[in-house]
Symmetry: C2
Subunit: 470 residues, 2 copies
């Protein structure tokens, strides 16, 4: 029986497919104020799992969570010249509060370098207070003219890390550690997304940074998505906010600071990086629901083994739920769980049960297999492992197929219409980078020939990844 | 040796003591914008533990987390008359964004009944969609003229639950369930705070509610602190936002909604409910650090058993850390951990170790006991249990000692200068409630004689708890 398609096909209209998935899998809705977003429970559960996994890795790198105010005096932003220039067009400004006009307008934080800089300056006295490693989970606001759910919204949720160090080397090493041990590790090992890790060009840096490093993912339509960034801020903010320390000789020195962030945009990346014409695909390690036990019909006491199997799965540490809403058709429920990308379904029905069996269905391959009821629990656990690995392998294959090695700027611009192009950085740097940008193609990042992250964009033999991007 | 006091004594100046503790235990700082707050890592770790425990209980009651926008169109608030009147004086208003003046000013959410009401109306079609049980963790803004860290800040963090039901009974039962199974359970079992649970008078209700229920705690200075509230909203918001459903006869009905919240104010309650002249006391179940292993001196290889013991404690599930910063004096470090209220210290020093011993120090009683190193782990676990129970017992004793049974309004006003007064509600209701308020004393809540929560303030024989309050 051919299934009626509930989504626009990716090949027909990828942006429309994306909107369809968000709506039908109940991930998010547009908010009432331009560019804002309502994250629905199923979407928020993905975010909670992302938070848990990222937070674990951040704490393992020694950073502590704190919370700084939403409201920032407008004067703070002005203290770092590039920073204020970068963010001014996107600011939301509070001019009235408590029934009165304010003497100084207040900015709703677009990011917290400035306010955190102010407190670092208070808290840091000597080299013994360093490194100071802070992180916060918060909402930020950047007014968007062309909003798109999860990808670019006027308000989004994120974590922002802010650290201060005694030396440039120490700051650089920490920014790199976060890039690798938090972001890349999370994206590869949990999201099953084989991100391209590299250095941004000067043109693409964060406003106020001396170096921005990035994890870039390739979406199924061939566009790139910046998934997270880690910045060396040099002493720019330390000079603007007097973040100094006494060194072991008693001399006053400026700190070297970093910042790094990942946002709810990762949910958009997950959708467009793994999704297919049947909907979302959530990798098992991320999934808030790893397995759904689907009661086909409530006949011949089929509900009892379905409930028992769910309990067994939960007891063995699998995030499993029971769907026994038999008032809705089995086909409809089955399609809904597919849409939501739950990695594994266990169908429990009277016909199978009569033979002592249940049916396991993998979301990634769509394969069905009947297994004895008694083995369903252990089979589910090993299938979830398989799916996790297979999703990373498939995504890696897809990324490589979407990446072309080219030798000229024209070929790069051409290849970037449907994927990512790799070419020598020397062909792009300077005026050529701006020409590419004029054709909607940007340098996503630079790598050394061996795939490592360069210390400088002036190194020899660097490779540029260029693409259209979200 | 008498210790130099690092805090103002509670008896000398309680508000000053409170400020001292927040600063010296590094819980929080004032933010740069009036009334805002910086929550420092140790303070935020308390909040993370509160979130984890409250979130667990909310999910056990079937509610799902979601996220709604920070920005609310000003027109939304106006739709519910009491609500807009209650919140208007406290609003922060965004008038400019993206470099332009906005056509309609935007309010920074003071609470989310209105915006969530709008989406409930979209999502609810029939009785099959009910109950709809939502919660969000978020920041909210209520402009404060007399801010006080954690207790009243212009921005604070909280969870706000919002639910919709088919009947008044179902809504009332759920609001009560949250009050008991989330708030009271968390406060009594985790915070070790014996809260008084009751119904607010009409004068003290949430703006737009038909019933507000509360958990009130008694601080060590005898004032009350509202720790969390749960509201029945009747059909007020359902009418304002068209939250309707089709019942099983196909007729359109208004939903009955509830909302309920708990905030970072609970941190202030924890400090003032348990703290003493040596600082904070954190109950073990809440503590982010339950046990600190304090290396006295780094001599005779004392660091090795200290590290091994810390690992053993962590391995057995105790949140333990090692303090081996022997460059600072032992006395100073010891005082700092006391200030921070870590429930149990284990002092590991060469002299004790020579006799195969370490010293355990309870924060609540200040008692020290030497125990064999090999038994330290198991003793620590059982002492933490003891401390948890003892803290609740002590707090209950203190609350009861601070509560007077009185028979007249004058006696109530008098008793409320140093504690809580209990008296018949019939002596207070009507004009007398306003007269009390004129003397700085409010009705914190109403209970039945048996301590249960009344369904109505017109019931006979109700008891009123009155006090000064934060």
């Amino acid at each position: 029986m051919a299934k009626a398609k509930v989504l626009t096909a990716q090949a027909d209209d990828f942006p429309r497919w994306y909107q369809d998935v968000l709506a039908k899998a109940e991930l998010a809705d547009n908010g009432p104020v331009r560019g804002t977003m309502v994250i629905r429970p199923y979407g928020y559960a993905l975010w909670e799992r992302m938070q848990a996994e990222v937070d674990l890795r951040i704490k393992a790198c020694g950073a502590q969570n704190a919370y700084f105010p939403l409201f920032i005096p407008q004067s703070y932003l002005a203290r770092e010249a590039e920073h204020v220039e970068g963010f001014s067009p996107e600011l939301a400004v509070v001019t009235h509060a408590g029934g009165e006009e304010l003497a100084e307008p207040i900015v709703v934080r677009p990011t917290s370098e400035t306010v955190i800089g102010e407190y670092m300056a208070k808290w840091i006295q000597s080299y013994r207070d360093l490194p100071l490693l802070l992180n916060q989970w918060a909402n930020v606001v950047r007014w968007e003219l062309r909003p798109r759910l999860f990808l670019r919204t006027s308000e989004f949720l994120w974590q922002e890390g802010h650290t201060a160090h005694t030396t440039r080397e120490d700051a650089a090493a920490y920014a790199t550690r976060i890039l690798r041990e938090v972001y890349e590790s999370f994206m590869v090992d949990v999201l099953a997304m084989p991100v391209i890790v590299g250095r941004k060009t000067a043109a693409e840096r964060f406003a106020g940074a001396i170096n921005t490093m990035t994890c870039e993912a390739v979406m199924r339509d061939g566009k790139a998505l910046q998934m997270a960034t880690s910045h060396e801020l040099g002493t720019n903010f330390a000079q603007a906010f007097d973040i100094t320390y006494l060194d072991d000789q008693g001399a006053t020195q400026h700190c070297w600071t970093t910042s790094w962030g990942s946002t709810t945009r990762m949910i958009g990346g997950l959708v467009m990086g793994h999704g297919d014409d049947d909907g979302l695909l959530v990798p098992p390690r991320l999934a808030s629901i790893q397995t759904v036990v689907l009661l086909v019909k409530d006949e011949d006491d089929a509900a009892t083994p379905a409930r028992r199997l769910t309990d067994e799965l939960v007891g063995s540490g699998i995030r499993a739920v029971l769907d026994d809403k038999v008032a809705q058709s089995f086909g409809r429920r089955s399609t809904d769980w597919e849409l939501k990308g739950v990695p594994l379904r266990v169908e429990v029905g009277p016909r199978d049960l009569a033979e002592g069996q249940v049916t396991l269905v993998r979301r990634d391959r769509g394969e069905k297999q009947a297994v004895p009821l008694s083995e369903a629990g252990s089979r589910a656990a090993s299938l979830l492992d398989d799916i996790q690995h297979e999703m990373l392998a498939q995504a890696t294959k897809a990324r490589d197929a979407q990446t072309s090695e080219v030798a000229s700027l024209d070929d790069a611009a051409e290849a970037a219409q449907s994927g990512v192009a790799r070419l020598p950085w020397e062909l792009v740097r300077g005026a050529a980078e701006a020409r590419l940008a004029g054709r909607g193609v940007t340098v996503r990042c630079l790598q050394r020939a061996d795939g490592s992250v360069p210390d400088d964009e002036d190194e020899d033999d660097l490779v540029a990844y260029v693409a259209r991007a979200y």
